[in-house]
Symmetry: C2
Subunit: 358 residues, 2 copies
Amino acid sequence: MLEDHPMDGERIQQDVSFCRRYLLRVANGDGRGTVIPFPGSSTYANEAVIQTCVPRNGKLLIHSNGAYGDRLMEICVAMGQPYKLVRTPPTQPASMWELRQALMSDPTITHMMVIHCETSSGIINPVEDMAELCQETDKGLLIDAVSSFGVLELDMQQLGFEAIVLGSNKCLEGPPGLAWVIADERKLVNRKGNARSLSLDIWDQWQYLERSGCFRFTPPTHVVAAVAQALREHEKEGGRKARLDRYQRNRRRLVDGMRVMGFETLLPDNIAAPIVATFLQPEGPRYDFMHLCNGMARRGFHIFPGRLAVPNTLRIGCIGALNESKMDAAIATIGDLLEEMGITMPERSRSTADSCGP
Amino acid sequence: MLEDHPMDGERIQQDVSFCRRYLLRVANGDGRGTVIPFPGSSTYANEAVIQTCVPRNGKLLIHSNGAYGDRLMEICVAMGQPYKLVRTPPTQPASMWELRQALMSDPTITHMMVIHCETSSGIINPVEDMAELCQETDKGLLIDAVSSFGVLELDMQQLGFEAIVLGSNKCLEGPPGLAWVIADERKLVNRKGNARSLSLDIWDQWQYLERSGCFRFTPPTHVVAAVAQALREHEKEGGRKARLDRYQRNRRRLVDGMRVMGFETLLPDNIAAPIVATFLQPEGPRYDFMHLCNGMARRGFHIFPGRLAVPNTLRIGCIGALNESKMDAAIATIGDLLEEMGITMPERSRSTADSCGP
């Protein structure tokens, strides 16, 4: 008995139903896709997509240029799922030539999976080209869109992907604890009994949801409510394009400011997502990364020191409830902390800095 | 960059560390057990325990007398994990004679798993006897303590279980979205690489946590903070015994009041947990379960109509931020709704009602 409980069954069903409709619309998936909520971290949902969509005797071609791509391989290793890994360096997007070669040389490959925006560096992989290759060769395309969905375009009608995975806590600006899968219904319907796990079976979660309107297992009620609110705010802001625009302005301000102070970006602007910017760290003995991290945290700017694609880099996020004046404040703080460490970086004039693209 | 974000890394590490210490203390597991947070629903954690602890060529003896016991079987079916199921009717606790027979007749059985309190009826299974049997026959004991932990006793030193699974959202009164596993370190240390899933690998989550203090994958930060607060409140209330006492008083008040109105409980009091009380529904055409459910919801009392062990029963929870006056209000509401439906139930005098046990 849940007396005075804010989350009665009807409310959560309405929230889930709204989220499913809204996310499908953002993906341009009406009439083709279905949206399935998946509690837990996005890694669970990535594994669930592999468990459910890749036949047990199928093979998954994985592209990786960072920590999150490598994790897809770790999932396959744990599952005993046959896979083939194609790596490119952290500063290079997926090579279409290499992926085509891999597909051609191994006809047992049934699916391809890629990270849309590899958060460990911020690099964007060319999902449009990959979708074309998959359509041409009749392979299923799976995309980890955890840190891109809601900002970068992922059009289901155009890309024809089999499934994508979204997180609630990146560009959708909700709390963590609930991921989502958008899957092609015509393909998912054939995946009954393929997963080697009850918990990680997307098909089963989907069917139960369609039948009953409920999750199979107790949902993270409070997170669901918060994510529904976050999506209403995404809609209110003007949807995907408006949010992309704000994040691009955030990144432009950040990168321009950091370049003025002498920092260089790891990636050229044309392959960098407006999600996170990665900078090369200053050289020399005076620079102390943890001093910078802790100093920023003391002033309310939290950066995550782990999961880096390239050692000695510094990642600063551009997403969340941030705007250009917040980016200015972060830049000023970094400037102060460099001064504290006694570091003078070679100044680059604003005019010679690369212009900062999406 | 998480500017002004309430959940910085240090805070969540402190919360997780407090929760782990506190839960271990409640289980009397100091020096023997380790506590591992596991995001998602408790079913995920149950599967993770099976994935991690039961060897691939081992066999799991499952006892079931309800929906949650049956789900353990569904997990094994999905995984392809060899198992043997021993069922007792929903109104009968596990039969030690049958479990012993099952163990004796199949030496390939390595582990036994049972639901401590089967929430679909509220029945308590005799984990103490099962622990004795497992110790005698050298089998690993796994317990789903999702709806009992924090109230019913589960003493690690005494029971010697290999692992138990807790939910945050039952007797611990936190929000859903985070389960916990308490495992015997000396056994868990040998389970590296046993899980056939990356996400559901308890060993890996444990090792990563010990090494770094962090979750392997993005934790449900807000849920973690709320659960830590819920545990502080559990401690403040006086711990397990004080909460057991309050829930017992809740159930006693509820069952006494319902009996006065003529309801009968599904279970005799000596095998019923003070978590949820199950009543036989009134007979006759005037009784309408959904009328009762909806009428209660309108007055702020939410009961869950699904997941019943026995058809035509009515379950009312006794857990959460409830006390005896709330139970009185619920009983009065049920009385009003019966009157609305024009139902007069045979009155049983309080003196002839069974006394309400633990």
